[in-house]
């Protein structure tokens, strides 16, 4: 009797859990779809002709074409060439990434593994730079850039973006460094490693997943930054500035804009894919405790 009740109860509970599980799965899929929908719409529109991009109501019944892509890439577009801003963005992103990592890793090391004097103050200073409202800095930065002759120069953006990314990079890499067992570094010191060997042969290989995560965030920020790029450049604009050029008084060129935007997304997706492989490797490496 008691067993029967128990089984029935268990059955009931099982059914409820099953229903709940399916509810959450479905809800997650719906949320994911809603978030992904604009991106999907952008990609679909990129394969339409300018004419069929305007249908009301919107339709999925169209003849896919690559003509808008080719007009973007072959610079037949009215906004000017696509290749130049794309190259500028690649350069700015790559140079920023190299500078951020080259400065961020040693800085994080000095703030964690072998902490320098007053390291807490230094860390707070890094964080404090993030508290300044973005817009407040534009006038002084514009004036400085003008005086240094860096207006409309990619290097102005590289320097700025390095400054923006560095605090976050130092904080992130530092927290990854703190995860490395202290004893392992001591073991390396006893094994005969100096500071440089310790950093390059013991710390860096273990830190790689952390560096990948940091690099990815840095790349995404740099690639997508619009505000400073718009103010500090004219002909040398990066990709976001280029995309904004599609908004004209005469109207919107949706299909071409979508094609250009789709192309501009590719490098970030590629960076994410590369970083993800590293991140997974990091998870499987695991801490040795």
């Amino acid at each position: 009797m008691a067993k029967g009740v128990d089984q029935r109860w268990r059955h009931k509970r099982g059914t409820r859990q099953w229903a709940l599980g399916h509810f959450w799965t479905t809800a997650t899929w719906i949320m994911a779809f809603i978030l992904f929908f604009p991106v999907l719409w952008m990609v679909i529109t990129a394969f339409k002709h300018e004419g069929s991009a305007y249908t009301d109501p919107p339709t999925l019944n169209f003849h896919p074409t690559l003509s808008e892509f080719s007009s973007v890439i072959n610079s037949t577009s009215f906004t000017g060439g696509f290749v130049k801003p794309f190259e500028d963005s690649l350069f700015v992103t790559f140079a920023t990434l190299v500078l951020v990592l080259a400065m961020g890793i040693p800085a994080a090391y000095a703030l964690s593994v072998r902490p320098v004097k007053r390291w807490r103050d230094v860390l707070f200073f890094f964080l404090a730079t993030k508290m300044l409202p973005y817009v407040a800095a534009i006038v002084p930065i514009y004036i400085i850039a003008t005086h240094l002759g860096l207006l409309n120069n990619d290097w102005a953006l590289v320097i700025l973006y390095t400054g923006f990314n560095l605090p976050l990079a130092v904080w992130m890499i530092r927290s990854f460094l703190l995860e490395i067992p202290k004893e392992m570094l001591e073991a390396a010191r006893i094994d005969g490693a100096g500071v440089f060997t310790e950093l390059t042969r013991v710390i860096l290989p273990i830190l790689l997943p952390g560096i990948a995560a940091t690099a990815l965030i840095c790349v995404i920020f740099t690639w997508n930054e619009f505000f400073f790029a718009l103010f500090l450049t004219t002909t040398n604009g990066t990709v976001p500035v280029f995309l904004s050029g599609f908004q004209l008084n005469e109207g919107q060129y949706w299909a071409e804009l979508s094609a250009a935007a789709t192309l501009c997304c590719l490098p970030v997706i590629l960076a994410g894919w590369i970083a993800q492989k590293q991140l997974v490797r990091g998870l499987s490496l695991g801490a040795l405790k």
């Binding site: 067992p181 073991a187 006893i190 094994d191 490693a193 273990i206 040795l288 405790k289």
Partner: protein, 394 residues
């Protein structure tokens, strides 16, 4: 091959905490020295100072006949095994073991030969190309040993290398580590909080408490002739029973609660220091195994009867632990040594209340709540000064 000498080594942290106070210790060439004590007694700090990964505040550390106070860890010619093994997760077993040799620019062929030799010695051949993440705890521990022995250092330093292993593996590795050390004949300083490890592995054992060396001697001497209450209580499990007692006039008896233990003439006349305590309170120490079950029989000549009431019997299969109560006031080790009993030691039982423990034959029939009689040989009694806690010397 070299000896390790610590001469009045002191460590004071910037916050003023003195972790190690004027530690004097000599590990002879080839000797296995175990540094044992409760958590926070300064044993690991002492080891780290020898390794060079902790600065020395005062005194000097010598390896061989060279003072190494200001020598970098890598130039001290030592190898260290860490508690959490500290293996490099991105390197295979082979690379982990060979890393130090590689940094020393030893020729590749030689590295390979030495690594293979070490791996064979440790029974790791099948795992040589695996990474630490793919190994079990015991295997990782062996890799850590391999990394140390391949260097052929002057001295080994080991910081609780077995404490992360499960109980069974720990017993197995205990023997293995001791065997490897004997075979290589390298001076070894081994830190542990486990008194069983200390007793079984060490040629000599140094007991530390609150940064101060209490006693350093062979395990048997530590067990039989502890210099003070702390050493007596720390070595041995279950721990020694401590009762308040009073030495009778002429030192021919000792009063424990309401029970009198006769001290034979030959015994007390050989202990002038004990006679000096005549009529004064002392702390009496009785090892649990020195209380033999007597039943209703009379004790043999020279022995006395010690009685109690059974409180609890723990059957361990090979023996039984009898917890009993007497009317004698028990000495709280924490009070006597200025420590809290809880922080005193992991792995030792410190009885509280008016209780004692006896270790008796597994087959004896014992019932809780009944009286129990033990035979006590006065020769096996330990006497400590009631105030200082120091052993009353012969």
């Amino acid at each position: 091959m070299a000896s390790i000498t610590l001469d009045k080594v002191t460590k004071v942290y910037p916050n003023g905490f003195e972790a190690v106070h004027e530690l004097e210790l000599e590990v002879a060439d080839g000797e296995f020295m175990v540094l044992v004590g409760p958590s926070g007694c300064g044993k690991t700090t002492a080891l780290r100072m020898v390794a060079g990964i902790e600065d020395i505040t005062g005194g000097s550390v010598c390896i061989g006949d060279r003072v190494v106070n200001d020598v970098a860890p890598k130039d001290r010619d030592i190898a260290m095994v860490f508690q959490n093994y500290a293996l490099y997760p991105h390197m295979t077993v082979r690379e982990n073991i060979g890393f130090a040799l590689k940094l020393r620019k030893v020729p590749k062929a030689e590295i390979k030969a030495k690594v293979v030799e070490a791996v064979e010695l440790l029974g790791l051949t099948a795992w040589i190309d695996r990474k630490p993440g793919q190994l079990s705890g015991g295997q990782r521990q062996r890799v850590a040993m391999g990394r140390a022995i391949v260097r052929e250092p002057s001295a080994f330093l080991m910081d609780e290398p077995l404490s992360n292993l499960d109980a069974k593996l720990r017993v197995q590795m205990r023997a293995e580590v001791a065997r490897i050390q004997r075979r290589l004949g390298v001076a070894t300083l081994y830190v542990t909080h486990d008194q069983v490890e200390a007793m079984t592995m060490g040629d000599r054992v140094a007991v530390m408490r609150a940064g101060v060396l209490q006693q350093c001697d062979s395990p048997q001497v530590l067990y039989d002739k502890p210099k003070n209450l702390f050493v007596a209580g720390f070595m041995g499990s279950p721990a020694m029973n401590f009762f308040e007692g009073t030495i009778g006039e002429g030192a021919n008896s000792v009063l424990i609660g309401s029970q009198t233990i006769q001290l034979p003439e030959a015994f007390h006349s050989a202990k002038p220091a004990l006679r000096a305590h005549a009529g004064r309170p002392v702390t009496l120490g009785i090892r649990p195994e020195d209380l033999a079950l007597l039943g209703t029989a009379e004790p043999s000549t020279g022995s006395s009867v010690f009685e109690g009431e059974i409180d609890l019997v723990e059957a361990l299969g090979s023996e039984q632990l009898v917890h009993f109560t007497t009317d004698a006031r028990q000495v709280d080790l924490g009070e006597a040594t200025g420590d809290t009993a809880a922080g005193l030691s992991e792995g030792t039982l410190v009885a509280i209340g008016g209780e004692g423990v006896a270790r008796v034959d597994a087959r004896a029939t014992l019932v809780g709540g009944t009286r129990v009689r033990f035979e006590l040989d006065p020769e096996r009694l330990h006497f400590f000064d009631a105030v200082s806690g120091q052993a009353v010397a012969d």
